[in-house]
Symmetry: C2
Subunit: 111 residues, 2 copies
DNA sequence: CCCAACTACTTACTATTTGTAACCTATTTT
DNA sequence: AAAATAGGTTACAAATAGTAAGTAGTTGGG
């Protein structure tokens, strides 16, 4: 019952990243801003959840929604400075996955 | 619908860490092996879910369950090499949270 | 020996979150 | 005008998480 012992900031960070899709969305926005449809296709998430997640990420200040009033209107989602600063985290997860996740199998250990 | 474009290893890693409690459990086991009751208290997770998560983590080869046949029996959970190799990831999340999460508020930016 | 307490879970049930599919509005192409 | 595309929202079923109580194997006391 005591959720002490753990740094509340770390807990907050984990409750952000430890939510389904969130990490993937941030990862996909790392290189360049993307549009709603592009994200659903690349990630394989439903519109309902993508919409929900993007709203949360906006509220947390990680993602920014920009409307370009061209014709037709174009809407892009990009990372804020706070969001972009997760790059080292993403890089480390990538590195770990390269070393410890077998591509096809569900195996345990690298060469 | 196409979940291509994303490295399947990265996806696998994210689906591990992007699950509620998993990151916190790994983090708590980083320093030293712990017992079931200790984890529930520190993390604030229910027995049901802790049990489930630990089983999954065992299956994924991240956590090891050791039974010490003392009297009374003592059961400890520890990280395997694969689990321990997530330390850089945890460290980066910690670093990020120190820089970008305000302790009391839900604020946006560091000093 | 019997009863309470402790650890490590499991089971039953409820609440919340996800996933699926259909729908909506505005614009644009055929 | 009809169909298509972008960017969503809504309604509902299915899966997952949370809560509380129960179980099994000790241990310690009366």
């Amino acid at each position: 019952m005591k959720s002490s012992e753990i740094c509340p900031r770390f807990e907050a960070a984990i409750s952000l990243l430890g939510q389904r899709w969130t990490g993937l969305i941030i990862h996909q926005l790392m290189d360049e801003p993307k549009r709603f449809g592009q994200l659903t296709e690349e990630i394989g998430i439903s519109g309902r959840l993508l919409s929900e997640r993007l709203k949360n990420l906006e509220n947390d200040g990680l993602v920014e929604r920009t409307v370009y009033p061209e014709t037709p209107v174009r809407i892009e989602y990009s990372l804020t400075e706070k969001g972009a600063s997760l790059q080292p985290v993403m890089k480390e997860i990538e590195r770990w996955s390269q070393n410890w996740i077998e591509p096809a199998k569900t195996a345990e250990s690298p060469s």
